[in-house]
Symmetry: D5
Subunit: 96 residues, 10 copies
């Protein structure tokens, strides 16, 4: 089941740079686990902003909530979730 997720990241100016680097590294590791598992299907940068546009493939709403709220950078994110479904015209098997 697919969801579009937009994440804006806002780390406040005075935040300790080392701790920020640690969180970003942990975020990358977690992202890559979820990407390999096929859960975090797509991710793109939004030009000019510290933000991403992502497509998640999850079995249900509760799994998506659990995944998002345990991301290392979650406390600094503003998150918008939009439920999607397969478009009848699509010929791509994985746009389900």
């Amino acid at each position: 089941m697919l969801f579009q997720v937009e994440m804006d990241v806002n780390i406040p100016p005075g935040f300790d740079p080392e701790e920020a680097a640690t969180l970003k590294a942990a975020e990358k590791v977690r992202f890559q686990e979820l990407q390999k598992a096929g859960t975090w299907r797509h991710i793109w940068r939004v030009v000019g902003r510290y933000a991403n546009l992502s497509i998640f493939d999850v079995p249900d709403n509760a799994t998506l909530h659990e995944l998002l709220t345990t991301l290392p950078l979650y406390p600094f994110m503003t998150v918008r979730v939009t439920p999607l479904c397969r478009h009848p015209s699509s010929a791509h098997a994985d746009d389900r």
Copy 2:
């Protein structure tokens, strides 16, 4: 080069149903040409709305404008375009 495009379609209530059907059929044909060509990379329905969320892969801005404004249903669409780029963490070759 990737762009997210959101399209909301609003055909007014009194519009001739046959003409609407003709336009929708033409839209589907055009969509499938562009999907086969790899230009209209992804399309999803937004749950509960007559709208889609799409990812386009085009050589430049002018091509995207030309493609969108010649869609058969374009006169009935509200279109929002967001430029995207590859996310540094992505391991997927086609999230370029």
Copy 3:
């Protein structure tokens, strides 16, 4: 899987009253089928507006989209969908 759905209904002033009555009757029949099936879990009127606030329980996003867009009054609705999940503090079995 639970979703909050808000529906604002706006039938234009000049619309044929008989056809409106037919659509409203069909809407009520469809609502009651879905309520009996346990799919349309809750419905409330929003005070002062021709609108409702509902909770749907569906197996997936695609089912919800299909249910909403085939409602008899759908062409006159503005629909907002919010994915929900069980709250960890809830003691109610059906707030899942």
Copy 4:
């Protein structure tokens, strides 16, 4: 008498974690008292946000104000209240 209440919780980053834990525990206790009493009829998590969507059943506006403003986490909440009433089509006794 029913009200929809949306609560967004925003504890600032620098807030003492122990005090936060104490407040969250007190909030849970209070929630469960009100749930058992039938006052806090439903609660759901909003996917991807530290927020809930709730339905309250109270005798009057003043009681609702008193309940909300004395919640342990109230100073960190943004609250939106929407008055609801029974939908004429509903067959459920408790959607009153």
Copy 5:
């Protein structure tokens, strides 16, 4: 139980003036019944707009919904409802 209700009235330019006059007269009669009954506690014009700001005193949400949606001009209104309660500092008995 008190509610603030804002009503913006928008009768479309082409609407039959006689029918409009009939509806406005019926609205005034209904308003005065409700004012005498103590239900429509206050009404004021908003300067420069065809709108009013009102205070209703009703036993519950359902009564307010019934009153508002059966007003003769309701089909032309945009209505916003805000639940109120007594302010602890007030010395006026009827600001309850």
Copy 6:
């Protein structure tokens, strides 16, 4: 001459509680003076928010500005002012 005034009060979390209590007490005293004088005609709590909805009766705009900006809690308020006037249908002498 009547005005609707909405006041949202937002005292920042770290503010000294004693000073806050002093300001609130002074606010209450000032409110009661103005209520007795008939200037602050009505006040109600907005359910779920630290805010009030008030009706002022003042001789002119300048008096209202002076009254509002010298309230003890004014530095913590967001204020919205709407000019009102008597509604032609009202039978209440004091809705002037």
Copy 7:
């Protein structure tokens, strides 16, 4: 007593041009009466829009409401009213 009033005028495309010309001529006559009387103190065009920004000097709110709602073009206007008062730094006698 001073008020800023913004008026956006929107005459629908299909409206009879002769009737529009008659209304505009009547509006100009009325404006000039009010300008000579010192009531409509200032008027300016907003660049690029069919709109004006005006300053009214009236004895009270009710007079302003009466003046605005009887303007010949009022049925085509969107009006926003902002109460003003003398600025303590001003040295101009008529910025009262």
Copy 8:
């Protein structure tokens, strides 16, 4: 050439009161120079807010930018600029 300028002033609660008083005094001096020069044509208080509504008469855009951004309180202001021009109906020589 005329411009409407709205200025909202927001000095943060913790700001040194002496420095604030110095800045306000400097602002007043600068305002009066510009008022005498005929550049700052009008200024009014917006009722209930620490804000003003002003009319500037300047030879060009660059002069206006220079004047506004060198005001002593500019770092605490939110500024909105609207270009104006003479209204064809105005009989006042200085509404140019």
Copy 9:
């Protein structure tokens, strides 16, 4: 003196296509006169919308208002005007 002007064009669906073509041709002629004169300094299409982003160079506000409101397509436009001035860092002579 420079201004950014955004123009959204919205010709209603039922509008006579021949008259629309005549207006568009007249608009193009007028645009090219103003471009040759150096007044309409730049024009670009906004991708995916029937809209343009333009830079005008005019002697004053009144000239800009006159130019915009006499464009053949003006009755179908929504126009937003932003006053600009030279940036101190720019090395380009014509970004004045």
Copy 10:
């Protein structure tokens, strides 16, 4: 390929003035490199705001993202990006 970029700069009041001066100087150097290279085609000040309106000419989205996010003042900027393309009526070779 052209993009409009709006940048609002907001350096917080307490920020070290020397560090701010260093960043602004570095920003100016970087701007002038990009202006000479023809990448940062135009820049203008927005009257009354610490903001600019710019036109970038870049080979693709990724280059624009890289350029913007490495600007010395980027951490203090709010950035909005709008893709543009050549307008069919333009006679200017460089409005491509």
